[in-house]
């Protein structure tokens, strides 16, 4: 217990003020002494339990790595990188946003959200102009995840338990609906073959789908709590590997094409989102305790624990070039963590 507190203080001293300075939103001062650290930590803890802004639910780097787009109940905002200064808000009609993804060529953004228990909305926007191109509202509850198949096809997953495939050029009706999850679908992940989709959600299953036939290939059920996120491991030869993060405090590594759970790492706190370093050597997880855990996927060990914020860290991304970590979460927090 004592060692946990010590590490928290040190991290708070080193990293928390840098978020504040970079975002320009914070009230924290440059730490000159340990007294400052104590005051800042206390303030930070209090603010975690009194939200003044909606939580950042998802964030992504622009293709050139110079901007960050982040979504929340307050809409879609663009920030500079690495300063994380809020630059502009892109008007959207969709409310309660949960996800944002750039298209493969970087010219479009897909965002998903909706009115809880009423509808699920997906909007396609141009980047960087932010003009609305298309809007889909066929889901009956909020959209939690989007994944680009290519420039014209988009997959969406919703709390309504369905996954839909859209042809962005043809119609506002889905061209395929995948049914099988018994509860909300929270995460999507495409294999490189662009034919195999992995999905996961509250029903604790990781499902493998053939997009050509729309058939479920297999369901893998080792998780014992809802699954929050999926991420495809880059830079590996052989069978593709994905990672899943779940409420059972594990990150599990799978070879979905053969239906095998290879291994898993157990964390000290529940991971909410995961992102791979670009060489696939490590995976970073943002957790409910506001910390980032860096995991070695081969040794299944946590190699680093970094304090990022107070409250729940809902989203994490790794910068495409400098490898620093973007984290967003409770109380509108968005910050940069350097490993």
């Amino acid at each position: 217990m004592i060692s946990l507190q010590i590490s928290l203080v040190l991290v708070a001293t080193i990293t928390t003020p840098s978020f504040a300075q970079q975002t320009g939103r914070g009230t924290l001062k440059q730490p000159q002494s340990t007294d400052v650290a104590q005051v800042d930590a206390e303030r930070s803890l209090k603010s975690a339990r009194i939200a003044t802004e909606s939580p950042i639910t998802a964030a992504a780097f622009s293709p050139d790595g110079k901007s960050v787009v982040a979504v929340s109940q307050s809409g879609l905002h663009v920030y500079s990188w690495p300063a994380l200064k809020r630059q502009r808000m892109i008007e959207t009609s969709a409310s309660n946003l949960h996800c944002v993804e750039f298209s493969p060529n970087g010219k479009h953004i897909a965002i998903g959200g909706g009115n809880p228990s009423e509808d699920g909305i997906v909007e396609l926007l141009s980047w960087p102009a932010g003009e609305l191109l298309t809007r889909f509202d066929d889901h009956s509850d909020s959209v939690r995840s989007v994944a680009w198949l290519n420039e014209t096809r988009l997959l969406t997953a919703s709390i309504d338990r369905e996954i839909k495939l859209w042809n962005l050029e043809m119609s506002t009706n889905p061209i395929l609906t995948l049914e099988g999850h018994s509860r909300s679908v929270h995460a999507l992940c495409l294999l490189k073959d662009n034919k195999t989709l992995i999905s996961a959600g509250i029903d604790q299953s990781v499902r493998v789908w053939d997009l050509k036939s729309g058939k479920l290939i297999r369901s893998m059920n080792q998780h014992i709590k809802p699954i929050h996120a999926l991420a495809m491991r880059p830079g590996v030869d052989g069978l593709p590997m994905i990672a899943s993060a779940a409420g059972d405090r594990t990150i599990r590594f799978w070879q979905p094409t053969i239906g095998r759970m290879v291994r898993y790492a157990r964390l000290d706190a529940e991971p909410l989102d995961i992102a791979w370093l670009h060489d696939g050597s490590r995976i970073v997880a943002s957790c409910v305790d506001g910390q980032i855990r860096v995991v070695d996927p081969d040794e299944v060990k946590v190699t680093q624990t970094l304090h990022a914020m107070s409250g729940w860290a809902y989203t994490v991304a790794v910068h495409p070039e400098d490898g620093s970590i973007l984290v967003g979460g409770s109380n509108g927090h968005l910050g940069r963590v350097i490993r």
Partner: protein, 715 residues
């Protein structure tokens, strides 16, 4: 630096658990304001989001037992979708219960009412998990009310007292629910209750995690009952008569000697007295003959056999995975404890701390009764504490004090037991706490956690459990003894002790437990005490003044005989023993070690396999199939006049029909026939001229005797 770290540690520790803070009065407090509101509207009830798996993808802790997880469910989960900080009125946590959007539970709050405003204010304030004060206690008034008449309004009130010294009326947010809604009506808005049916009724008040029973009594009769002259043999009678007087119930008179003899024989030995013993007792003119009889029965071998069966049932002794040897050794050990009147405290300690080869050391089999540490924790709590911890596996017990920490902490103690054929220590054994997903910390239920590296958890548990101040141990067993002797526990069910299931006679339960502990935890002592009370010796015939009483002991209860006892009684009366598997001829059912021993008689009469508690198994002959089989099946019909049967032997010996009638009355009902009965049978027999007709008639007579309620019950 060290000082700084320590102070920060304090800040983190205090803030992270949502402890009291200095906040403005208008701050909506998630823990003290919102959770009671959820409870009042039924949101966190077991039938709604408080179910183990939640409902509609939204799970709250049962009745708000875990406020932190509730806060996370409402505010944090699924990207915080249930609370809209940008537009509080659009929050799902409000839209659903007000049914602006489809809600499986319908509209449970008024969108313009207090509850909706509370939610909106809270979200506008930032949807925080802050609290101004911790709840110290809830004061419910009245706790008990004895009313003279039905329909008299009783206003219930709840006042919460907080850690900062403040109090407030929380009646509005308290749920008052009658255990029997047909007996008590409680208006949910005004909290005014009315008793609709005479008797003693319980209303449970719930505010946050506090549950408090309220006792509402309306006298069973309008009579002014003075029982000061009623005979009393010991404190049992004082307590029972006091409650009868309060309730206006007149007790039945004492039973006659024959009835007492049969009753106490069945209760202490599981057997019927012989015809000779009946005659001897009825002719005995000593004023203390009943007391002498009790002392005598407590020393006979039949007492040991019968009470070994009772303990074997309580301990659920049975062969595990065909391991008959372990069960035999265990049974034999129990028999030795009974025979030597070993204190129940010593028996419990031996069981809890047992180690060794289960084929050589009986009590070690205690750890082979169940398959795992969690099941062992459930069993041990029901056995030694009379408490059902099993609810606390998945959530804090909704009607009791037990938490998940208690349940899994107790399981963690038993996880350190190697439970193979040889029972021993397993220092690395652990059980996972489902909430933390970490190994549970060993814990004495309701008391304290043990040191992380404690290796003597079982010893600490045994010490706590068998300490004279333990609030559960002695009460649990004396309540069982009481039930065995009089037919109904002071707490019923006997394994469900909790504040919201109070004893009918709490002072008597306390005194019995104190007396039991003060007398060496001797089972014989308490059995003797009960058997010698005038309460035990009351007639089972209800009188007009107490006919509606089913729990205050104004008259004795008619109890169906246990399957084993009835099977043996049938064998004794008919003179032909039943066959039990491959056991030798003449084996009695009460002596069987394996409850699944092949036996048509026990199949018909009903048996308990001991995989679970036998305490709620109905007595023999209670169900319709059993009754029909008893009336029509081979259990009786094939044996009444079989070769070697008592009836056949009497025919062969040339006994007169009236001698046969008398003999069967004495053997089966343990009393001579009344003058009216004798006259009836003689008249019937006189009309039959041939021997064959008389013989056939007497076969029917025996059949009739053995299927009548007087035979198949202890009364």
């Amino acid at each position: 630096m060290k000082t700084l770290l320590q102070s920060l540690t304090l800040i983190v520790a205090v803030a992270s658990v949502g402890r009291a803070e200095d906040l403005p009065e208008e701050t909506v407090d998630f823990r003290n304001d919102l959770i009671p509101m959820f409870t009042k509207h039924g949101c966190n009830a077991g039938a709604c989001h408080g179910a183990a798996i939640g409902r509609g993808g939204f799970k709250l802790s049962l009745y708000g037992g875990d406020p932190q997880s509730d806060f996370e469910a409402v505010v944090r989960q699924i990207n915080g979708r249930r609370v809209n900080l940008s537009n509080p009125e659009e929050s799902l946590i409000l839209l659903k219960p007000a049914e602006y959007v489809e809600h499986g539970g319908g509209a449970v709050i008024d969108d313009e009412g207090d509850s909706a405003q509370l939610l909106i204010d809270w979200i506008k304030q930032g949807a925080g998990n802050r609290t101004r004060r911790d709840l110290s206690s809830v004061e419910i008034t009245p706790r008990k009310r004895v009313a003279k008449s039905l329909g008299e309004p009783v206003t219930l009130r709840a006042v919460a007292h907080y850690s900062d010294g403040t109090s407030r009326d929380v009646t509005r947010w308290t749920i008052f629910s009658a255990e029997d809604p047909s007996a008590v009506d409680v208006d949910p808005e005004s909290a005014v209750s009315k008793v609709l049916r005479r008797g003693r009724h319980i209303v449970v008040a719930r505010y946050l995690s506090e549950v408090v029973p309220i006792e509402l009594v309306v006298q069973l009769t309008d009579a002014n009952v003075d029982l000061s002259d009623e005979p009393r043999n010991n404190f049992i009678d004082d307590e029972i008569l006091e409650s009868l007087a309060t309730l206006g119930i007149t007790p039945s008179p004492p039973c006659d000697d024959a009835t007492y003899l049969r009753r106490v024989y069945l209760d202490l030995t599981g057997r019927l007295p012989s015809a000779e013993r009946v005659n001897e007792f009825l002719e005995d003119s000593r004023t203390d003959k009943r007391k002498v009889l009790v002392d005598e029965l407590l020393q006979v071998e039949e007492f040991n056999e019968y009470w070994t069966l009772q303990l074997a049932k309580l301990l659920r002794i049975r062969p595990q995975q065909d391991d008959t040897e372990g069960a035999m050794i265990y049974h034999q050990w129990v028999a030795e404890q009974i025979e030597n009147d070993v204190s129940y405290k010593q028996i419990a300690r031996a069981l809890i701390m047992a180690t060794g080869d289960t084929h050589e050391f009986g009590p070690a089999n205690f750890y082979r009764t169940d398959t795992g540490q969690r099941e062992q924790a459930e069993f041990a709590s029901e056995l030694f504490m009379g408490s059902r911890l099993r609810c606390a596996n998945c959530h804090n017990h909704p009607l009791d004090r037990w938490t998940q920490d208690d349940y899994h902490g107790l399981a963690a103690i038993f996880a350190k037991v190697e439970r193979g054929r040889v029972v021993g220590e397993k220092p690395n054994g652990q059980t996972i706490h489902p909430r933390t997903l970490e190994p549970a910390i060993q814990r004495i239920p309701g008391e304290q956690f043990l040191a992380e590296n404690a290796t003597d958890g079982r010893r600490q548990l045994a010490n706590w459990l068998t300490d004279a101040s333990n609030p559960y141990f002695a009460k649990a067993i004396v309540n069982r003894l009481w039930k065995r002797m009089v037919g109904r526990g002071l707490v019923e069910p006997v394994d469900d002790f909790r504040d919201t299931n109070p004893a009918t006679h709490p002072a008597l339960l306390d005194k019995l437990a104190e007396d039991f502990a003060a007398n060496g935890y001797s089972l014989r002592h308490t059995l003797r005490l009960i058997a010698n009370s005038t309460t035990y010796a009351r007639s089972a015939d209800a009188i007009v003044e107490n006919k509606d009483d089913d729990r205050f002991y104004s008259h004795a209860a008619r109890r169906p005989l246990e399957a084993e006892v009835l099977s043996d009684a049938i064998s004794d009366v008919l003179g032909i023993s039943a066959k039990y598997g491959s056991e030798p001829e003449g084996t009695r059912a009460v002596m069987l070690v394996n409850p699944k021993t092949r036996s048509t008689a026990l199949d018909v009469l009903g048996r308990c396999g001991r995989e679970e508690s036998c305490e709620n198994t109905p007595g023999a002959g209670g169900g319709l199939p059993q009754k029909l089989h008893l009336l029509n099946g081979a259990l009786l019909n094939a044996r009444i006049a079989a070769e070697g049967s008592r009836l056949n032997e009497m025919f062969s010996a040339g006994k007169l029909p009236k001698e046969i009638v008398d003999a069967f009355y004495l053997t089966a009902l343990n009393r001579p026939p009344s003058a009216r009965e004798r006259e009836h049978w003689e008249r019937q027999l006189a009309e039959l001229k041939s021997n064959d007709a008389q013989r056939a008639f007497l076969e029917d007579f025996v059949w009739g005797l053995m299927t009548c309620e007087e035979f198949v019950t202890n009364h």
